[in-house]
């Protein structure tokens, strides 16, 4: 073992803003692992990094955009998806990846999520689900399990959480998968598939938040949380998403649940307007270098 850097750099350094590493996430936070999986997926695709953009929202996961060495946009709370929509429609050849947390995507951002999925906007959305609002200290989120303690539910959450995969599927997502942070190899594959697939693709990752959620619910160290979620997980691909339950007291169903072909928003837009412009990309204004 050596601690020198001059042998070869870390394989992901070419995609990291290394001057900002170490990053701000807590020891044992799962976001870094998901970040590594996203970077690996980007390398797997073999695409030109200049044609890939990341858009994030507000929260711990939202900070990911600040560490990736690609065109990246750290937008307002809940609004990463509509921003990404505009970006993608302006630059159809750019691959747009949205990475954000459970609260950002499904509480304040919920409306935007369901409409982008309905439209089958050609973007990939990665949800880091740590069961609370971490950045602000650990408040209840739409993912918080019933009865779990958070700073705003000291006697246990009185709300049942969403099943994000079920929601995404119901809204029309063309690819839906869920993994825990321990299952990094499957996660890398899923994110690669999601990025390479046309349409609205969604991957949810159950990750430890040791500083807030874990501490308040006495889940032990980050490592113990990682093992716990993994232990609760059961792999069932190709089941009905409504049965892909996300229940940390019973079972966390992981796997790939939806992988369908559906026309995207642009497919329909070009089709609807084909009498005026037979081939959208051939319009002079779409040929100009931007």
């Amino acid at each position: 073992m050596t601690t020198q850097k001059n042998i070869t750099p870390h394989p992901m350094d070419s995609l990291l803003r290394t001057e900002r590493i170490p990053h701000i996430w807590c020891p044992g936070c799962g976001i870094g692992t998901v970040f590594g999986a996203v970077l690996a997926a980007i390398k797997n695709t073999g695409w030109d990094p200049n044609q890939i953009a990341m858009v994030s929202g507000i929260g711990c996961t939202g900070r990911m955009a600040g560490y990736i060495k690609l065109d990246s946009f750290h937008t307002t709370h809940g609004r990463a998806i509509p921003f990404a929509t505009g970006l993608k429609l302006a630059r159809p050849d750019t691959k747009v990846i949205v990475v954000s947390g459970d609260g950002d995507l499904f509480a304040i951002g919920g409306n935007h999520f369901i409409h982008a999925a309905r439209r089958n906007m050609d973007i990939t959305v990665i949800c880091v689900n740590n069961l609370n609002y971490g950045m602000t200290g650990g408040q209840q989120a739409p993912s918080t399990p019933l009865g779990a303690k958070t700073t705003t539910t000291v006697n246990g959450s009185p709300e049942e959480p969403f099943n994000f995969c079920y929601l995404a599927s119901a809204c029309g997502a063309s690819y839906v998968a869920r993994w825990t942070a321990m299952q990094v190899r499957s996660l890398r594959s899923s994110i690669t598939e999601a990025m390479q697939k046309r349409g609205f693709t969604f991957v949810e990752v159950i990750t430890p938040c040791p500083s807030s959620f874990g501490r308040r619910n006495r889940m032990g160290s980050a490592l113990e949380m990682l093992k716990f979620y993994h232990g609760r997980s059961v792999i069932r691909g190709d089941i009905d998403p409504k049965d892909a339950s996300m229940d940390i007291d019973k079972e966390i169903v992981v796997g790939k649940f939806v992988d369908i072909e559906r026309p995207t928003f642009m497919d329909h837009y070009e089709n609807a307007n084909r009498h005026q412009i037979p081939n959208w990309r051939m319009h002079p204004d779409n040929q100009k270098a931007r």
């Binding site: 073992m1 936070c29 990094v184």
Partner: protein
Amino acid sequence: MQKKKQYSVNQSADADKRRGRQGHVIVIEDRCKGCGFCIANCPRQVLSFSSVFNAKGYHLPKAVDAAKCVNCHFCEILCPDFAIYSVALSDIND
């Protein structure tokens, strides 16, 4: 009659001929936050906490059984901090 060769449970029949993959673990000191993911999950139990700690006070992992590393990269892909990775031993020795 030939004496039956004794095989150890964890060895293949041609273990004495095969070199197998060998890896070398590198830790980037100032990135590590001592979470222990790599140590607990290395499939070959190569790593454990060292007594060394970095400037932020985190104990780093170290390869206590370096020869057992097979360059599977699991520590590398699990690490949330881009602080540990493995390279093929042959790449170092060249």
